[in-house]
C-alpha cells in the first residue's frame, strides 16, 4: 500500500518548494482531473469552500481561473497562464493568488505513472523566499489565534512585497 501522505518540501532560504502525493489511478485520468473543470469542481479545495467558477483554456498561452467561495460568501480567485503542456505528464503554468498579485509564482505539475498509481509532483517557484514562505506557511493560523502577538513577522511573511 502506497503512502497517501502529502509531502511538502520547502528548504530554508530557497524560493521554491515541492510537493509529492500518490493517487490510485492511471495518469491519463489524473491529468484530466487536474485540467478539466467538470472534474476540478468535484475535488479541488477544502470541503468548506465551493468552487464558484472554473475556467481552463488548456493550450499554451491559455488562461485558467478558479474562484472559491467561503462559508461567509466571500470569493477569492487563483489564476494564471499555461506555459507548457505535455499531456498527460507535465504542465507548467503561472500561479497568482489574486489578492496578492505581486506574489506570482511558476508552478510545474508532473505526473508519473507507476503500476496503476500516479505520483503527482508539483514544484512552485516564487520570486522571493518571503513570497514562498507566505505561500507555504503552515504556522500562520496558529499565529493568528495567538492574539496577534506575532503579527509583525507574520504579516511580513505573508505579504512581503518585492
Amino acid at each position: 500500500m502506497t503512502s497517501k501522505n502529502l509531502e511538502i518540501i520547502a528548504e530554508p532560504g530557497k524560493t521554491s518548494f515541492t510537493t509529492r502525493r500518490v493517487v490510485d489511478a492511471p495518469r491519463a485520468i489524473v491529468f484530466d482531473a487536474f485540467t478539466k473543470c467538470e472534474h476540478l469542481t468535484r475535488w479541488m479545495g477544502p470541503r468548506n469552500l465551493t468552487m464558484a467558477s472554473c475556467t481552463t483554456d488548456l493550450r499554451v498561452g491559455g488562461r485558467y481561473r478558479f474562484v472559491f467561495r467561503g462559508p461567509d460568501g466571500n470569493d477569492v480567485g487563483f489564476s494564471g497562464e499555461y506555459k507548457e503542456i505535455v499531456a498527460p505528464e507535465r504542465i507548467v503554468r503561472t500561479f497568482v493568488f489574486e489578492p496578492i498579485p505581486e506574489a506570482a509564482a511558476v508552478e510545474t505539475l508532473e505526473l508519473e505513472e507507476s503500476g496503476g498509481t500516479t505520483i503527482i509532483r508539483t514544484t512552485t517557484v516564487h520570486k522571493s523566499v518571503e513570497n514562498r514562505d507566505g505561500h507555504v506557511n503552515s504556522g500562520m493560523e496558529a499565529g493568528m489565534t495567538e492574539g496577534y502577538a506575532r503579527l509583525d513577522a507574520l504579516l511580513a511573511d505573508m505579504l512581503q512585497k518585492r
Binding site: L6, R21, G70, P99, S138, M140, L155
Partner: protein, 129 residues
C-alpha cells in the same frame, strides 16, 4: 452576485492596505494596544499628516477603528478583518491535503463508473444504424 463582488473588493482593499510596510508596522504597534496618531507617528520618522493618510487607508480597509474622542481619536486594531484575510490564504497544506483526499474519492468513483460501463457493454457489440 452584487454582495459577492463587494466582498471580493473588500478583500482586495484589505490586501492592498496590508501591502505597505509602514501600515504593517502600524498594525503591529496596534496589536500591543490602542494608540493616538501622535504616538504612532513617533517611531516612524514621518509627519503626522503622512501617518494620518496611512490610517485612513487602514480604516477604509476595516483593519482599524478610530475612537470618537475628537481630541485624541485613538486607533484600535480590528482583528476580525485581518482574520478574514488570513483565513483566505489559509494554509497550503490544509488546502491540498483536503483536496487530495477528495481527489482519491473522486478518482475511485470515476474508475468504478468506467468498470461498470465496460461490464455492461459487450466487447464485440456493434451498433447498426
Amino acid at each position: 452576485m452584487g454582495a459577492v463582488i463587494a466582498n471580493d473588493r473588500d478583500l482586495n482593499t484589505t490586501f492592498g492596505a496590508l501591502a505597505d510596510p509602514t501600515r504593517r508596522a502600524i498594525l503591529a504597534r496596534l496589536s500591543r494596544g490602542e494608540a493616538s496618531v501622535l504616538e504612532l507617528a513617533e517611531p516612524f520618522d514621518m509627519s503626522q499628516p503622512a501617518i494620518s493618510k496611512h490610517l485612513k487607508v487602514l480604516e477604509r480597509a476595516g483593519l482599524i477603528v478610530r475612537g470618537r474622542d475628537a481630541q485624541r481619536r485613538p486607533c484600535r486594531l480590528e482583528p476580525r478583518r485581518l482574520k478574514q484575510a488570513a483565513d483566505w490564504i489559509g494554509t497550503y497544506r490544509q488546502f491540498w491535503e483536503e483536496s487530495y483526499s477528495r481527489l482519491d474519492d473522486y478518482l475511485h468513483e470515476l474508475q468504478t463508473k468506467e468498470k461498470t460501463r465496460d461490464v455492461k457493454k459487450p466487447r464485440n457489440h456493434r451498433r447498426t444504424r
